[in-house]
Amino acid sequence: MATRLLLRIVTPQQPILEAEVQEVTAPGTLGEFGVLPDHVTFLSSLECGVLRYRTFQGEAAVAVRGGFAEVRANVVTILADDAVLAEDASPELARSERATAEAMLKQAPFGTAEYHEAEERRRWAEARLAASRWRQVS
């Protein structure tokens, strides 16, 4: 029986995090999923959202911008398009980006590429905002 997991978060730009954790909760495409030690070999795509993990010290959060998660042999690898640790997420920046994205959403006709891009940006701003709030709670 393993009691801990290795959590690795990498983005195309750089590795973001590598930590020993007890539990990971990630925003999967079909809904949030939790991973505990000795999880089955698992592969999922991710949506924009907040990933949380629990260590012996406490809980922490990371905003992730879509991607993939692999769980295998007690290693959780998150391949995110982008990721920002809760302590690095600036709520002011996220708020202003959300406002820009919302302005774009109003102008872009529904269903177009611009619309989807604006929607994606809005979700990414929301995720960072949620992650930054999470930091204040803990």
Partner: protein, 287 residues
């Protein structure tokens, strides 16, 4: 022999040029270091993603994904993504890439190839040479980035998936070392996944189903390939410029040495001539 004053002027001007080339060399060295770092940082993601893509593709090998299938009827339309620099003064960097692109155009037939340009140098060369231009991204301050790689990759993937192109290649300069950069052609689409090696095919529980997941993995894989090509190209460009500016600096030093020698000779000759005049003047007075 050139006049003393003219030689002095030449030396001053060569010295100025040398200052510029030296500064450019140092700037390129710093940028090269940063580019290499970016390439190293990107490696972990790329390796893991291609491993997952390989695994899922292998587990689904009985129903191959459209992006993995070659066109049975041969290639009637080919897309090329050509990555050159925006600026010159980097030795043979751009011309090597252009030469390789010409080869590729000849191989596939010039009229069949559509070219997407990243970097002004490639575009400037080909714009008046009768190639089909699909798109151009020039004057990129700070070089091509991840967002551009994503947009280009998505567009090309859609072109392939919807049957508007039969193969997509990327031509970029592979960074082998600071002294050697090799123009390299890589096939983006159809995707050729490496065989699953010793690790064996793993059984994953997937979410959503494996087909949907594979589609996302493949699209992301193309993005990663383009991004990596960008990173390699940037490291190569800075390395090429650094080498070019280094040799320009030492050429300037050599020229300064030669001109200084010439200047000393001219000065010596002037002094000798003056002395001769004085001596012969004195001789004449003695009478």
């Amino acid at each position: 022999m050139a006049s003393l004053k003219a030689i002095r002027k030449r030396i001053a001007s060569v010295k100025n040029t040398q200052k510029i080339t030296k500064a450019m060399k140092m700037v390129s060295a710093a940028k090269l270091r940063r580019a290499q770092e970016a390439a190293t940082n990107a490696r972990a993601y790329a390796e893991k993603l291609s491993e997952l893509m390989r695994q899922v593709a292998a587990s689904m090998s009985d129903t191959p994904h459209p992006l993995l299938q070659r066109r049975a009827s041969g290639l009637t339309r080919v897309d090329l993504l050509l990555i050159t620099a925006d600026r010159g003064l980097c030795g043979a960097y751009n011309s090597n890439l252009i030469r390789r692109a010409e080869q590729l155009l000849a191989e596939h037939g010039r009229e069949r190839v559509r070219v997407t340009f990243v970097g002004r140098r490639g575009f400037d060369y080909f714009k008046k040479r009768g190639v089909v231009i699909a798109d151009k991204h020039i004057n990129l301050f700070g070089g091509p980035d991840l967002a551009l790689a994503g947009r280009l990759a998505d567009h090309l993937t859609n072109e392939y998936a919807e049957g508007r192109t039969d193969a997509v290649f990327v031509l970029y300069s592979h960074f082998r070392s600071a002294l050697s950069q090799v123009p390299t052609v890589e096939q983006l689409l159809p995707i050729v996944p490496a065989a699953v090696g010793a690790e064996g095919v793993r059984e994953y529980v997937t979410e959503p189903d494996a087909a949907t997941l594979l589609d996302r993995l493949l699209r992301q894989y193309v993005r990663v390939l383009v991004h990596r090509a960008f990173l390699e190209a940037q490291a190569s460009e800075h390395a090429a410029r650094m080498t070019a500016m280094d040799s320009a600096t030492s050429n300037a030093a050599e020229m300064i040495d030669r001109l200084t020698l010439e200047m000393n000779r001219a000065r010596q000759a002037a002094i000798t001539k003056e002395l001769m005049e004085i001596v012969s003047g004195a001789e004449a007075l003695k009478g």
